[in-house]
Amino acid sequence: MKKPTAYKCTKCGRVTTYARLRCLSCRNERFERVTPAETATLVTATEVHMLPVGFDVRFLRVGIAEFPDGSRVTGWLVSERIPPGTRVDVRWEPIRERDGEKTYGFTFHPSG
């Protein structure tokens, strides 16, 4: 399984789960690659029934989760509906296939 990468600002320490040219907090342009934590807490989630082009499913569950260091990530909730505040395992998995290539993304699974 591929490993996800997060980007930690070398100046202020802010972490984002996607590459940026500049840090959102301090505008520094240097980042250290780090591996995000494997668990997080679900902040909010929604079940979406009106989907854009390219999703041949009835609905998707998407959410925002917060890692122990306070950084957050958007991803798919791969479970029945669970309430905000629930602890989730964060995985990096194929979520779509576009132009014959797998696209990886963050997925959330209830812990335990």
Partner: protein
């Protein structure tokens, strides 16, 4: 800076139309020009607000095409794109051109032909506003973002589905009084929430938001004629002053906001507009808010300063935001029922305020309206404009 006035205002009926985009935009300008006695050759600049000509209509250079169609050469022409806030951005740029003394008269028109494509495609088109790697790949759409936001906001402040429905019911009622509104359909709490068939009539779009919590996909155009205030009386009896404009940006990625329930850009844009206009939120008589989703009318009403944070839904319960209430919000029907052709929306909001401040709003007239406020919400609140108009 020179003062700037609005001397003409109008919009097409928002609906599904077969007209090509440029014809739709021209019709939007004609409704505004029909509202003012002016020699069209005096128009020095045409600003066109549009988000999707390239993606939805396979067309570029639409501002030049509008000038061509109107035959008002050699007027300057530019396209203004700021997502769903394109309309208010175009008005701001027209305002600045006149305030700086570069122009005397500017025509601003906004329009969108969204129903040229399927619902899937129009949802996808708007979703391209989201971050391509952090959000879009997951199928995040604007309704998804609104669902994520609504879940947090409702839990934090005790807002119920009934509160959201009250917004929808009010705005549908208002749209019944607006002949150019897209949705002409009264709705009831029973019909959209409590009867067994409500699950079919009002299905989940992005929970907790249901169909009647979301604006329709509309075609339409709206236009304004802006003029140096010291010349306005040459062209109309009742000019309306552009008293204040504010704008603010915020993070593109929703999860990066320190508090995802804080619509910081609405707050900052509103504060700037109120400072510039020299008025307070309590001075506003009528407001047009960007209710693409019912939760946004509640949240924006608080972030603009009309109600304390977490209490906007109580104001709706008390009927304060209905026409005849303490602060009528969205007498036009709002995006929810007037419709939301994205490039036209920010201009249509101001068209409604112009009619209200002139006393020309017919059956939906807010009594003695002298100060109006509009919030045009770009992206999911990552580029917001607040505009304040005053009776001239």
């Amino acid at each position: 800076m020179r003062d700037v006035a609005i001397i003409g205002a109008g919009q097409t009926k928002f609906a599904r139309t077969e007209w090509p985009l440029v014809d739709l935009l021209v019709e939007g300008t004609r409704t505004a020009l029909a509202d003012v006695r002016i020699d069209e050759t005096l128009i020095q600049s045409v600003l066109v607000a549009n988000m999707g000509a390239g993606m939805l209509n396979h067309q570029s250079g639409v501002a030049s095409a509008v000038v061509d169609a109107l035959g008002i050469f050699p007027a300057h022409a530019e396209l203004v794109e700021n997502g769903p806030a394109s309309g208010a951005s175009a008005v701001k740029l027209g305002f600045l051109g006149i305030a700086a003394g570069y122009y005397d008269i500017v025509l601003v028109v906004g329009g969108e032909k969204m129903r040229a494509v399927t619902g899937w495609e129009s949802t996808d088109f708007v979703a391209t506003l989201t971050h391509p790697v952090a959000e879009y790949i997951y199928g995040i759409t604007l309704p998804s973002m609104a669902g994520l936001f609504a879940r947090l906001y409702m839990d934090k402040y005790g807002i119920t589905p009934e509160h959201l429905a009250m917004v929808a019911i009010k705005n549908h009622d208002n749209a019944m009084l607006n002949p150019v509104a897209h949705i002409q359909q009264p709705i009831t709490m029973e019909g959209i929430l409590h009867r067994p068939e409500a699950v079919v009539n009002n299905p989940i779009v992005a929970d907790p938001l249901r169909l009647f919590d979301c604006c329709p996909v509309s075609d339409g155009a709206a236009g304004l004629v802006l003029c140096a205030a010291d010349r306005a009386k040459e062209f109309c009896e009742k000019p309306v002053l552009v008293a204040g404009i504010g704008q603010a940006t915020d993070t593109q990625v929703l999860h990066e906001r320190e508090d995802p329930t804080d619509l910081k850009a609405v707050r900052l844009a509103s504060e700037q507009a109120f400072r510039m206009a020299g008025v307070r939120p309590s001075d506003v008589d009528v407001a047009e808010l960007h209710d693409a989703f019912t939760i946004l009318e509640i949240a924006e009403s608080e972030h603009a300063g009309f109600f304390e944070k977490g209490t906007g839904h109580r104001a709706i319960e008390r009927g304060e935001t209905r026409i005849g209430g303490k602060l009528p919000i969205n007498p036009s029907g709002g995006l929810k029922a007037r419709g939301h052709p994205v490039g036209a929306t920010g201009i249509a909001q101001l068209v409604e305020l112009v009619f209200q401040l002139r006393g020309d709003a017919g059956d939906r007239q807010v009594k003695d309206a002298r100060v109006g406020y509009a919030c045009n919400f770009g992206g999911f609140g990552n580029n917001v404009l607040a505009t304040i108009l005053k009776k001239g």
